[in-house]
Amino acid sequence: MARVKKDIEKQVVLMQGNEAIARGALDAGVNFFAGYPITPSTEVAEILSVELPKRGGKLIQMEDEIASISAIIGASLAGAKAMTATSGPGFSLMLEGIGFAKITETPCVVIDVMRGGPSTGLPTKPSQSDIMQTRWGNHGDAPAIVLYPDSVLETYELTIRAVNLSEKYRTCVVLLTDEILGHMREAVSLPDLKNIKIVNRIKPTVPPEWYRHYDENPKYIQPVASYGEGYRFHVTGLAHDDYGFPTNKADEITLMMDRLKKKITHHLKDIIQIESFKMEDARTAIFATGITARAAKSAVLMARKSGKRVGLIRPLTIWPFPDDAIRKYLRNVKNIFVPELNQGQLIKEVKRVMGGVWNYESRKSRQIIPIQKYNGELITPTEIVNAMKEVR
């Protein structure tokens, strides 16, 4: 017994958030990475440049971010599990490619370690100002899957989850973190690889001449062939038919657009993860994500010490926005505080879902209160507690 315990203890290591992304990628089976270095994401590429070749994978440093996203889409079409990592300025450049990955239904993962913006902004300071960009940045309709962890261990777990979701739903999945999470080091004990679920895209079983690259089925989870396996298909950013060839037919366009949407909206339960922290008896809630949720958790404990019934709701899945889950948790809450490192992005969604009356008998409106900081510094627990003191 003592021996077993020793082995478990041995696995506790000091790990950086960006290292956790690299480890998660390797354990999820990522075997291709193309990227362009940018603070605060560079460590991801740095570590993978050493580790990927050891396992037969490939890493290419591209000339810029547009080339990087294009390279991972190409690699994915040839069957690789492909990933890139960047920060806000690079993500802006990648948006065109992300739209292409979505319409061509090509699995890939983009890591965005957020820093201050706009433009080159604050390379070494944290921010949460890419929340809307990850959802609405690329033109055209198409939902996004975006995850956002709040610890080094969860960064590892959600990296694997991002790869799994991209493989399952054939789309570009974004993992958001921020400069603090990316550079922070914590004591971490990684789970045993045997206990980690890895999802691989489903391969077609039909003979090549029957294969349709975009096959309709009620669950919207389609088999997908890779180039070089004997299956022929066409890939274009134009609206396309089942074989991938451009179309202008209204019924085929509708079919395609509905599939892009429904393959995500039909699986919200599988995609959405949310943490509820001390919400059982809460009358006041904090709604926060990522690094700000760490401050919020401390604030909840501080407020509870002075007798206030406060809880935290933290979505791990930012997009699709967890409307129903949030309604369930926040139904009986009087005030909602939304701390975030931007000028007001999450709060717009919270207002959309939770705005209006909270107590129907007295017709009292719920207050949704911003706590915003965009100067490169974190919102501290004390700042959240003080903001809560000011509101009755």
Binding site: P123, T124, K125, E186, A187, I291, T382
Partner: protein, 186 residues
């Protein structure tokens, strides 16, 4: 078996290139060897040298959430600028350790203050200013006991390039000795 709750917020501050983030990583690694719960965060500018730089290490025996130090139990400052900026957030009876090679003015009331010219001492005794960070870390650890000294040495060995390990182990020993001058007085 009820252990007393223990939580120490430590900020190591100065300017880029002084090795504060390296020192923070070493301290955090040592804390893990002591089986503590630990986070290490950092803040620095876009420059590769110069500019304000700091590393925060929080060491505790129970779970905590916010990873940055806000009220410091221990503050190490290797520049005047860092000292001016951060000493206001030192806890009452907190410990301030300043490198008097660069820190000339300290305005503080209820704190335990140690002023030593770590950088000068490093230059004199080791012929290079580079391990001043590790020397001051050795001093900090012997004064505060936030991690065990064996763990600190192990952490240094596992974090520093092989060719510099000896130099840094010498530096940490000097740090310990410097602290003995104070510890004995108690």
């Amino acid at each position: 078996m009820t252990e007393r709750k223990f939580k120490k917020e430590i900020r190591l501050s100065g300017s880029g290139g002084q090795g504060l983030i390296t020192a923070g990583i070493i301290l955090a690694k040592a804390a893990i060897l002591d089986k503590a719960i630990v986070t290490q965060t950092q803040s620095y500018g876009p420059e590769s040298r110069g500019g304000a730089s700091r590393a925060d290490v929080i060491i505790s025996n129970s779970e905590f959430y916010f990873p940055e130090a806000t009220k410091f139990d221990v503050l190490l400052t290797l520049t005047q600028e860092a000292c001016d900026k951060y000493s206001v957030n030192l806890k009452d009876n907190g410990i301030l350790i300043a490198d008097s090679t660069f820190v000339k003015n300290i305005v503080l009331m209820d704190s335990e203050i140690y002023e030593l010219p770590f950088t000068e001492i490093a230059q004199k005794k080791l012929g290079t200013i580079l391990p001043a960070n590790i020397m001051s870390l050795g001093f900090l650890v012997r004064i505060t006991g936030v991690v065990s000294e064996t763990s600190l040495k192990k952490a240094i060995k596992s974090s520093i390039k092989p060719q510099y390990i000896d130099l840094n182990l010498k530096a940490v020993k000097i740090g310990f000795k410097l602290a003995d001058n104070y510890v004995k007085e108690d």
